[in-house]
């Protein structure tokens, strides 16, 4: 029997690391991530996890320790937030360039200054181009399932890349929800032991990630891009297989809700996707054809699926819990790029909301949708980017 427990997303992430039978955890505490690695420390203390738990002096060292562990061919886990993630930045490139399937939970928190411990995606989205896959979760169940799924995905020989499993600080990290945890044997059957693509071996010594001359460098970059494309094919398959085994799925690359006949789609990431479903239900009661498309995977970006959504919808509205200063929200940019070469391209409008933990309710999303519907009927986006609930 699967076990049903009620706990925070951070503790659930700890349960997932345990269920994935990780062998090495190297971590440094930072709010709001701390309780992820505290839970794991508790498991180690109780003898429920037999792992190498490395307490390091910084997040940079945490990632470097994970890299060192992963090159010996063991399953590796860590977690961080905001400034800790930023401090890891250099090491993130070493992990992806070395093709190591490390899974890291990122508990999203706004980057300072101004100082904040509340959520937005400015931390993980700043790491967009590091060669890591990025998943964004909408509830605690998805946190558990995504950690298990990403190990299976990242350890696939066609991928061999690291992944961030992102969850918003406090909205999920410290919020109790019921979560179904499958039996260990069933997880083991879904997620077999890790077989590495290459390993440091005393009997056949090699050095890795060495100096590469211009005549070879581009090929290594291309292979990462190829792996990202492969991941895009595998993610929906793995999500489906997970549903067949455990009865729960999360939409693969994009979780679509009432999109089939929708004129307007609200595109979100993370927990806003849950509020968007409520907003859609309310708007439908008023006869407005609105759907929700929650982008679950930001890297690789589901360009083709966005293109498919654009076949039916006349307008796509993105709501970003993030701002790329001097431009717009990342999601808005990616959506525009995904539909630009289509003949029947829809209108795209961008909204910035929820920065630094400001509340975004279904009501907020309904207001955004209604304004978008007006622009849709007028056939013109009045404003490329609108900041929601901003003081005058």
């Amino acid at each position: 029997m699967a076990q049903m427990i009620i706990d925070t997303a951070n503790h659930i992430a700890g349960y997932a690391a345990k269920a994935a039978r990780v062998k090495v955890v190297a971590a440094y505490p930072i709010t709001p991530q701390t309780t992820v690695v505290e839970k794991i420390a508790e498991f180690v203390e109780e003898g429920k996890m037999d792992i190498e738990y490395i307490r390091v002096e910084s997040e940079h060292s945490a990632m470097m320790a994970c890299i060192g562990a992963a090159v010996t061919g063991v399953r590796t886990f860590t977690a961080t937030s905001a400034h800790g993630l930023a401090l890891m930045h250099e090491a993130l490139h070493w992990a992806s360039g070395s093709r190591l399937p490390i899974v890291m939970v990122v508990v999203n928190r706004a980057m300072g200054a101004p100082w904040s411990i509340m959520p937005d995606f400015s931390d993980s989205l700043s790491q967009r181009d590091t060669g890591w896959l990025q998943f964004y979760c909408a509830d605690n169940q998805e946190v558990f399932d995504t950690i298990i799924q990403t190990y299976k995905l990242c350890e696939n020989e066609r991928v061999f890349l690291p992944a961030m499993v992102c969850l918003e600080g406090f909205i999920l990290s410290h919020t109790y929800m019921p979560v179904k945890i499958p039996k260990q044997e069933e997880i083991d059957a879904f997620l077999p032991p890790y077989k590495s693509g290459w390993t440091l071996d005393l009997n056949d010594p090699i050095s890795h990630a060495n100096l590469v001359s211009p005549e070879w460098f581009m090929e290594f970059r291309y292979m990462i891009q190829e792996a990202m494309e492969n991941a895009k094919q595998l993610i929906p398959k793995i999500d489906r297989e997970y549903r067949e085994r455990f009865g729960v799925e999360h939409g693969g690359l994009i979780e679509k809700y009432r999109c089939e006949d929708a004129d307007l789609l609200l595109l979100t990431m993370g927990t806003m996707g849950s509020d968007a479903k409520i907003a859609v239900d309310n708007l439908r009661k008023e006869g407005l054809k609105v759907g929700s498309a929650r982008v679950r995977v930001f890297r690789p970006f589901p360009t083709e699926e966005i293109g498919k959504l654009a076949e039916r919808a006349q307008m796509l509205t993105s709501i970003d819990r993030h701002i790329s200063f001097g431009m717009e929200g990342f999601l808005a940019t990616e959506i525009k790029a995904s539909v630009f070469n289509r003949k029947d391209k829809p209108l795209v409008a961008g909204y910035i909301a929820g920065l630094g933990g400001r509340d975004v309710t279904s009501g907020t999303l309904e207001k955004i949708a209604k304004k978008s519907l007006k622009w849709m009927r007028d056939g013109k986006v009045e404003k490329e980017t609108t900041w929601v609930d901003l003081r005058e």
Binding site: R99, I206, H208, A209, W216, M223
Partner: protein, 95 residues
């Protein structure tokens, strides 16, 4: 062993290199200061051999060090670590 790939398909996922003597050429030519061992002071403790980051010190049968000047870059760690100051760093081209 030569394992240089010809096409992308033959390439490893990440650059890997296999140990070989002097894969970067004779790096001893980079040296400005040359370590000189005074064997009358040397106690055969092998610390210099342990600390040499380039494996450019050969441990001889009697545990005394022999510096491989083809690959010693002259970093001076051996001279610094030697507890009896048996290794002196001498500027190249000077006696």
């Amino acid at each position: 062993m030569s394992r240089v790939p010809k096409t992308r398909k033959e390439m490893p996922l990440t650059p890997l290199s296999f140990p070989t003597v002097g894969s970067m050429g004779k790096t001893g030519t980079w040296r400005t200061f040359r370590p000189e061992v005074d064997y009358s002071k040397c106690t055969r403790c092998t610390l210099c051999w342990i600390y040499c980051p380039d494996a450019a010190i050969i441990r001889q049968a009697d545990d005394s060090p022999k510096i491989d000047y083809d690959y010693c870059k002259g970093c001076g760690i051996c001279a610094n670590e030697c507890p009896v100051k048996a290794i002196t760093m001498c500027r190249e081209e000077e006696e």
